[in-house]
């Protein structure tokens, strides 16, 4: 409150007891135009060492040369814009070089000229200015304090609680208004976690069949008999959602062909077909596609943060920050021999979220109970 925002720069002649926030006293003479004792030389001032004329002359020449270069380069920029067209890589490259080169030259020419001007033509300065403490003096402080209290009293805000409270009451709902307005940033449904628990693999196709696994890119279905070289890997998208980014963000798969003896207990064999295993490609750490596969070790690696999963052993984590295995998708072949998903992932795919819970443990428990019943 007592910060003196204007006074530091005005030393002795500063009008005392100026009220904070009021404008400084207006000038009485016309600005810049008052003094009129003509002479042509720069006046000597202590702390200002003038350049000798020879240096200044040299500086003028150098600066002028730089400015001239900048001038020509500036014209060159305009000419380049007209002359060089963009389009393919080569043309764009030439245009970029011409435009960028001339712009660079113009700007650096200007910069060099200005620096030469300051260093060789302008004087050397060693001027001293006083500093004053930032705080205003006690008199000013108490004056401001008194004025503040007096103003508050005059306004009646201190002794009229009805006025004060209703004013606050009036402001509160208006303050909430922007927050209310933000509600429709979100979707109309409320059960977000439910959305995260399902992927399109759980939905049957329109004609009530299991959804086919398609090769990403070509979009062709995969015949299990054709995907037969062990160590092979495919990036897979769901039939009907090949280009739906929202669906792909959860449903993309990595499909790996093993020799049956390579598979370890972590993998659910009921959900494989002839050594073909499908895992979610979405990393359980923060959701990057875990796209790298090392055939010899059966490791799936996420290139973002290097979480590494053992594909032969239920994609359990062997290295990196991911805390959970990549979920495995139950797959089988349909009557034509194409790979299809028989059900959705048993657990949510991708990064963890607050409401997720230990879905893996729930699945295990459910299986144990099922085993006990049968």
């Amino acid at each position: 409150m007592t910060e003196n925002n204007h006074g530091i720069e005005q030393p002795e002649e500063r009008v005392p007891r100026r009220v904070i926030g009021t404008p400084p006293p207006a000038a009485s003479t016309s600005l810049l135009g008052a003094e009129e004792h003509p002479s042509t030389e720069v006046v000597q001032v202590p702390g200002v060492t003038l350049q000798d004329e020879a240096t200044a002359k040299k500086g003028e020449k150098y600066a002028a040369l730089c400015f001239l270069v900048a001038f020509l380069a500036g014209i060159g920029f305009v000419v380049s814009y007209v002359v060089f067209q963009v389009g393919d890589i080569e043309k764009t490259q030439v245009s970029n070089l011409a435009l960028g080169g001339t712009l660079t030259l113009a700007l650096l020419g200007l910069a060099a000229g200005m620096v030469t001007w300051v260093r060789l033509v302008m004087p050397k300065y060693n001027l001293v200015q006083e500093r004053h403490p930032m705080a205003s003096d006690t008199e000013t402080r108490s004056y401001v304090g008194e004025t503040f209290m007096q103003g508050a009293a005059e306004s009646g805000i201190t002794k009229r609680p009805l006025l004060r409270r209703t004013l606050l009451a009036a402001a509160a709902p208006l303050g909430l208004a922007p927050l209310v307005l933000l509600r429709d940033l979100g979707p109309s449904y409320k059960d977000f976690p439910a959305k995260l628990r399902h992927t399109v693999w759980g939905e049957k196709t329109k004609d009530g069949k299991h959804r086919k696994l398609l090769v990403e890119g070509s979009g062709s279905p995969i015949r299990a008999a054709d995907f037969n070289s062990p160590g092979g890997i495919l990036s897979v998208v769901p039939e009907g959602y090949e280009h739906d980014l929202n669906a792909l963000a959860k449903a993309t798969l990595i499909l790996i062909k093993f020799r049956p003896e390579e598979l370890k207990p972590g993998t659910n064999l009921n959900w494989t077909h002839d050594g073909i295993v499908a895992y979610s490609k979405i990393c359980t750490h923060v959701g990057c596609p875990a796209a790298l596969y090392e055939q010899t070790t059966h490791h799936i690696l996420c290139p973002c943060h290097q979480s590494t999963f053992d594909a032969a052993d239920g994609a359990k984590v062997v290295f990196g920050p991911a805390a959970r295995p990549l979920p495995q998708l139950p797959i089988a072949v349909d009557e034509e021999g194409y790979l299809v998903a028989t059900a959705d992932f048993p657990v949510p795919v991708g990064p963890s979220f607050w409401e997720r819970g230990d879905a893996e443990a729930e699945v295990r428990e459910a299986e144990v109970q099922k085993g006990a019943q049968s």
């Binding site: 530091i8 005005q10 400084p24 006293p25 000038a27 016309s30 600005l31 810049l32 135009g33 003094e35 009129e36 003509p38 042509t40 720069v42 963009v86 389009g87 764009t92 245009s95 970029n96 070089l97 435009l99 712009l103 660079t104 200007l110 000229g113 200005m114 620096v115 302008m122 300065y125 060693n126 001027l127 200015q129 500093r131 940033l185 979100g186 959305k195 280009h243 980014l245 929202n246 963000a249 959860k250 993309t252 490609k281 923060v286 990057c288 596609p289 973002c304 290097q306 984590v317 920050p321 805390a323 959970r324 990064p351 963890s352 979220f353 607050w354 409401e355 997720r356 819970g357 230990d358």
Partner: protein, 549 residues
Amino acid sequence: MSTQPVPKPVAGASGFVDDRIGAGNFLRRNLRKIFPDHWSFLLGEIALYSFIILLLTGTFLTFFFKPSMGHVEYTGSYGPLQGVMMSEAYASSLGISFDVRGGLLMRQMHHWAALLFIGGMMVHALRVFFTGAYRKPRELNWIIGVLLLTLALAEGLTGYSLPDDLLSGAGLRITEGVAISLPLVGTWITFFLFGGEYPGEDVISRFYSLHILLIPGILLALISAHMILMWVQKHTQMPGKGRTNENVVGAPFYPAFMVKAGAYFMFTFGVIALLGTFAQINPIWLFGPYTPADISAGSQPDFYMGFLEGSLRLMPAWEINVLGFTLPMSVLIPALVPMGIVMTGLALYPFIEQWVTGDRREHHIVDRPRNNPHRTSIGMAAITFYGVLWLLGANDEISSVFHVSLNWTTYVGRVLIFVGPAIAYYVTYRICLGLQRADAAVIGHGVESGVIKRLPHGEYIEVHVSPNEAIEAHMRGKEPIPVVTGGGGGDDDGIPSKAMRSPLGKLRTKMSAAYGGEKIPLDDGHGHGEGHEEHTAVGQGGDEKSLTH
């Protein structure tokens, strides 16, 4: 003072302005405002000018960019992607690159300027930190600076996501993965940010308005406040001849500083143009359109996000499941803790230091880093902490370039993140004390002149001469760091005040004693700066000096 009458047009125009707003009073005080000179004072200007260049190039880009995630078929000039389905944002980014003359240049300059903006802010902040220029009365400006840095990171993140190429989408996906991991509110925040499930159709237009309106608006306001405070409080100066805590020594704003600053702006602009021309950055046409199903190996964020990337990579797997709720610690800790340590630490440091030293005075002469060894060591430890995270953000590159195991880079990083800062602290502290000793030697014994003299009894000695006046004044700018004594409250009776007898008070006294005080006095009793030899047997000081002058 001046010489010729002011030319009529200038006098007329300025009279017009002054009659209406009284600008004369302002100009009278400020035209010759003094700006001290030191190379390190220019670092912040890089950031300032980069911001202006960002506004200029960014405005150009908005004329052509379409912030839409609607799917279109690419029909532009770039052959390899023709006919490919992509978002309008990506298509228009390609359009800026290949179908707008100067568009590629502006895009690359915009990106380079962004890197220089944040890089400039970082080195400027380090300069201010290591010289103690944040001390009273400049704490407010320091906090504005910390806010600026934080906002600049958000500005970079939102901007980086706009072109919607495969690389930018990877960054967005990681952002989503981090946001959704937040306890309690994570899913809400994510679904509101993306307008539903990731990636949705809204995030680019939302980031666009954040990136070109909201954040730059706040940045502009804060930068203005930063400048005004600097102007009002006057710039700090290095210790030196004739420089005191009550004055400013340097060149006047008009004309010298003005032209210097203008030249510096042009240099910054020129260098960014140079980089934009010759140093390719973010060649989005090589990455292809974004799809959540793909990623390119070796995806690296911009340099200022590297430390977050590194901390995510460094963290071991850890997830807590309680009562049906999930806390993904291996995301939460690396995403929040380093950033929190760095930013909160920066923001609070002036106040913590004030509390420890009890120093409530105004400081306008900055410290040489060596003269506050603990501060400098804390700074170096923080740089090491940040640096290890940053390096680990590129551990896949390190691994492939140096042919070391990727996993080992991570293991080593997990150790280094704790050991590195400790080593940096110790080493810096010793170096600071060593440098202080070197200063004391120069003040106490003079500078080695390179002249060897033979004494009457046959001994050879090197003649020492008094240091250059300016250098000596610079060294003598050192001030002991205040210490809170047991008395604390300012009583003379030597009995600790009640506050200082509490456990916190005792800690404060201990910390203060370690942090403050004079570790290596400049004058160690050998006399004052007169050139004299190590050897006490030699007395004719003036004689030896004449050899060297």
